[in-house]
Subunit: 826 residues, 2 copies
Amino acid sequence: MSEPTIHEEQITSTGPHRDRPNLRSYFGTPEVDRSAHPVDPWKWIETEPPTEKLGVVESIFSLGNGYIGIRGTPEEGRDAFMNGTYINGFHETWDIRHAEDAYGLARVGQSIINAPDAKTIRIYVDDEPLRVSTADLFFYERSLDFRKGTLNRSLEWRTPSGKKVLIDFTRMVSFSDRHLGIEIIDLVLPEDHAPVVLSSQILNRQDGQDEFGSTQDPDRWVASVNMPDDSVNTTFDPRQAEDFANRVLLPLLQVDEGETVKLSYRTAHSGMTLAVGATHELSTKNDFHITSTSTADQAKVEYQVSAVPGEPIRLVKFFTYHDSRRMSAQELLDRVDRTLRRAMEHGPEKYLEQQEKITGDFWKHADVEIPGQPEVQQAVRWNLFQLFQNSLRAEDLGIAAKGVTGSGYSGHYFWDTEIYVMPFLTYTMPQVARNNLRFRYQMLPKARERAVELDQKGALYPWRTINGEEASAYYAAGTAQYHIDADIAYATMQYARATGDSDFLFREGLDILVETARLWEDLGFFGKDGKLHIHGVTGPDEYTTVVNDNLFTNVMARYNMRIAAEWVEQLQRVDDESFQAMVRRVGLQPEEIGRWKRAASAMFIPFDEKMGIHPQDAHFLEREIWNKDDAQPKRPLLLHYHPLTIYRYQVIKQADVVLALFLRGVEFTEELKRADFDYYDPLTTGDSSLSAVVQCILAAELGYHNVAMPLFQQALYVDLCNLHGNSADGLHIASCGGIWSALVFGFGGYRDYDGRLTIDPALPEEWEGLKYRLHIRGEHVLVEMDHEQVTLSMVSCDEDDEPLLFEVWGKEVELTDQAPVTVQKG
Amino acid sequence: MSEPTIHEEQITSTGPHRDRPNLRSYFGTPEVDRSAHPVDPWKWIETEPPTEKLGVVESIFSLGNGYIGIRGTPEEGRDAFMNGTYINGFHETWDIRHAEDAYGLARVGQSIINAPDAKTIRIYVDDEPLRVSTADLFFYERSLDFRKGTLNRSLEWRTPSGKKVLIDFTRMVSFSDRHLGIEIIDLVLPEDHAPVVLSSQILNRQDGQDEFGSTQDPDRWVASVNMPDDSVNTTFDPRQAEDFANRVLLPLLQVDEGETVKLSYRTAHSGMTLAVGATHELSTKNDFHITSTSTADQAKVEYQVSAVPGEPIRLVKFFTYHDSRRMSAQELLDRVDRTLRRAMEHGPEKYLEQQEKITGDFWKHADVEIPGQPEVQQAVRWNLFQLFQNSLRAEDLGIAAKGVTGSGYSGHYFWDTEIYVMPFLTYTMPQVARNNLRFRYQMLPKARERAVELDQKGALYPWRTINGEEASAYYAAGTAQYHIDADIAYATMQYARATGDSDFLFREGLDILVETARLWEDLGFFGKDGKLHIHGVTGPDEYTTVVNDNLFTNVMARYNMRIAAEWVEQLQRVDDESFQAMVRRVGLQPEEIGRWKRAASAMFIPFDEKMGIHPQDAHFLEREIWNKDDAQPKRPLLLHYHPLTIYRYQVIKQADVVLALFLRGVEFTEELKRADFDYYDPLTTGDSSLSAVVQCILAAELGYHNVAMPLFQQALYVDLCNLHGNSADGLHIASCGGIWSALVFGFGGYRDYDGRLTIDPALPEEWEGLKYRLHIRGEHVLVEMDHEQVTLSMVSCDEDDEPLLFEVWGKEVELTDQAPVTVQKG
């Protein structure tokens, strides 16, 4: 793959004692070409058709609602890196063939499928196809509208015969109707007559239907697009998805009835079913003629319009997807019918209104404002909008590492959701947060089975999965990341405390806490020192694997066991009936609670007295300092060095100790946080996009503003500037979540350790202020800060609301919906 | 796979402080059914046709010469588990597909091929096929003759129509002609007339030609043999070979000319070529008729004989194999012609004579005698004969883990050769030992490339390979075993010192020492303690992987660097011209020698002061004691527990520290050896067949006779009694070598540390004596011992021989060819 740009300059050292080189993969100051991408606080705009890095641009202009995702490829086809459409969780399975097998390795590979593309509407004027990369365009603008929730494109095309054609495209994936997408094309020839053809299609691209209607020929395919910098398919990149050798989507029923077409499929191995359908409405005073056809891999409705000068043509296309693990094709086709019929009844305007309304509500509760920083504001809103549109309607499904924007990481769900996305959801979209936790709850039976397979008690969540089974084929950086259990428990607790949703906690969440606590208690063992040790696990940092007493894991496991004990006892106190039901569900034995407490109390937390820091694991500090690429850094390391080589050194892919310092900051003194950060930051390459945001939060907390801001910028533009070189595979959704965390927890200084709400602003000097919104225990809280003061205001949602207690700069304040509260600094 | 038998009884504890359970996989007292396998000091015999565990029996009755290997399946076909024929090094390659890829992982899979089977001669009497498993047999005996070097079978068959048929089979793979095999069938009907058909064939079985002439149908195939206990193909077993999906042997030229048939092939991916041919001579006074045919996968010469009573029929079949990495099929067919023509000229008797002569010479120099122990004697000779026939003519090839007896471990070469087989070869067949080292020398360029790929200096030998490239797909238990470098250096040094072959050492061996020393010096790093540490490697024990400062590795690496420095300096002193040539070959820099010495001196040797033992690695003793299967042991662990689980515990697959105590015993006090052995022996499951022999040697040295003898028995019968349950995949050749080591180094007490020859007998009480032979610096030495004395005698091979100095029971003696020397005990 194309490497991230590396500048040899070193970023400013962070602490006082920097006798070692700074290993951070420094990606330079991200720069956006503002002539092509003008600043707009509510849109991401391009004013020229993209000519390179098509894959990146497609990811940036993706639309989705958490269930359906459509990459930002043009309606008319052709100029594309990856014409991807993804239905969250719609996946194929395959037998993982290990080059050398062993007991308990992951068996079932799972890959998100490129669902049939219902977006394509080819456009011909005078039988000349529109293709933006070669067309003579007098005007072009595309924008992702953060307020309307639509992707819009306008262009003025001079055809080869010199006719002027004005076209506006409007595309949306509905937030109100989970299964619906809409495209609107408004086309007019102001001055000329011409035959105009709009060929609306549904194309099964997964099985190789290319732009030319034939089975995909890799050479022609590559030749047909301009993607020198997107050619990520070199020898290997473990972060990409699997290719299939054989047909994936087996065609079932096809239907074409007038302007409505429908296709349905079953996946070859996972047995999932999918139906996709589209219906149309053409509005014009021009004469036109309609034909429709459908075959296994392609359905078409073609409008042949005799356009006269100045007479507008509007084509509305409604499309819909329904999938299932078990349902028959006919059942799904019936659902498709219902969705399409309802859509035709309502008409597109109603959906556009609803879209804007829902999006507006989102911003009301989730916007983060940075006054006087329009460029930052634009990029921040782009990040938040991605979070919104990749999670809103996930519902009974997870939120994948790439959301629904690409096939990177095979569409798998990781800890990314719980640690990087869930804080945002919990505080701005609590219902969506709850959905995600319920999804994890549904996964408990498989996690229990996996624990048994690995000879452990309780439940062991898969490191990566779609269907609940472990899909990580490389256990050292996969299955060994047992911390996934604690991450899910952490997110459960954070959600429950922030929302006060005891209903979920007591009926489902507690089961997660109990089963994960059991795993830790069983996995740990008492060493000769009387301490509880956890051996043979991998922490967040994948540049050291299968270690003993990873600090992050031990800290999180301790927390996991403590909250399990605490809330089991709490439930017993407050609601015996629910308690008994829970006991029955998880088969709780009375002595278990004491065991978790003892284990938590005895947890070994590695600490090096001499250096005054926490080793990342028991033996991390015994490793050699990285000395491999002083002259010419090769990043990311994982593409240039054998794992054994990387593992031998004190070199870090992503925040590990530092993440513990953030998530469980209340357990560490500021002095230790500073010592640890000073030690680890220079060792952290940031080769993972999960790193910068966490380092940023800690840097902000510690007052290292000259470190925090470049890290924030790296995360803010990771996709917009393709800083990791792989945004073509899909967006870094965790990093988007991290942007919110960096703003709220980092610069905004908000913390919620164990239910105590504190605000210690760390506003960057160059910013005049910051405004963010939090949904806490049913109340909407607005936090506004500048360099002198913090103002809190509450918009109450219910009647019997209790006041919220905050500590701002250490001063306790009580917030009610009666009046805002302002706290002065110092 | 079928598990090894496990008895719950614990073997006697070894040391004084056994507060932990003994984890050793105790396989019980091996028992041979003596009614079916009578004791014979020079033969392994079966008196009944095997009805179960066919695969094991086939391995036990394998014939080979180190180049060609033929499993002990019957000439007439049918009753077989795996009709295998192996040509050492004749392999197919394939792209290793890693379920999750990473930089530097092994890329080229290599698998030994089941070469076309030239052994089959189907026999029909009255058109009834002979099939031993169902035939009405009045007599049956098969024997592997250790002195004649042949496999013989005699049977008296009563056909369904009641005719008596006497058949003698003689089979040999020639020791004198590397490419030749011979079969002789002597058949007579003493009392009856009958049409007799002898259908001699060459069959390409690799590509699925089964017993029925059709492409292999797994169900019929399974149904056709009786192999309930051989069904090792369960879900997985990492120790088995790869299956190919497509055709492996692409047919080239086929020839049938009268009684001669020839087939030739090219492998689909590795591009190796192979020609196989057979010619025949039928001697009988009966009338007969010959037909021959050849197709891509089958060539046939059929003799239709009208047998009259008492008139003997003798069919002699000569067959030959020639393979190459590059040569054309025609060239190989020409070689086949020459071999066959010469064989016909000489006739079978001459080859049988030569075979007996060469085998006799072998025993003269390699026999180990255990007077008064006929059963042990028989099994010992079987083991030594396997060593002999699997190595003699390997020549420019390696000696695979399974020799040429099966496809287990894909026919790969491992450290097994250097550490387990080379001591035997060095002391009994020095020319063969030299060949193997020269084979490793030829591999140096690829080992240098691999070091570069892994960002290291010097050379890194592949953990497992056929063609010199790393083929270990699981790096943690493969590539990470860097100790392979030191193992090869060790074998080089042991050979050079024992033989005095300075020619090899100075022209080639030293290059190995230098390049491996470089690797160690570069891989190691100086820690804060001023010591040289080696991190991230795996020692011999594969139940703990990727550890820091593995004791075995550090001890062996230190030795490796020391001998490199020592012998480079020695060469510089004695032969400047050769020295300069070596300097040019390896680009030696003057300061390197000093660097190796410093690194060796600073080598960190982990030692636990409190426990007074050497930890297996820096952190081994921090692990938990195995507690997983107290009630019901599941062995081998690797088939029942996830690697992560196994790695967390103090549980050992095979001798690791203990192996270092043996190989570099001179560096450890007896007290420490005892402490280490006492600690590690109970932790050692012996799930690897490489373990028992090493544990046995140390137990013998330490006087733990009640431990040494059961371990010896386990190794002695590992294949003869299928103790590890997988002898069907091929013999455990390293264990055969270990038997010799256990006798000579273990009970025989011989050591050769750094050229000092010592004998400290550890004769088992139940044995009256022991005789073994050593080839030392050109002299043949006979060591005879009983419980009172040791007698050494020398048969000189050259004129100007120098006396050999021995220390027997600590007493120095000088041995010349003038007279034997006897040393009394005490």
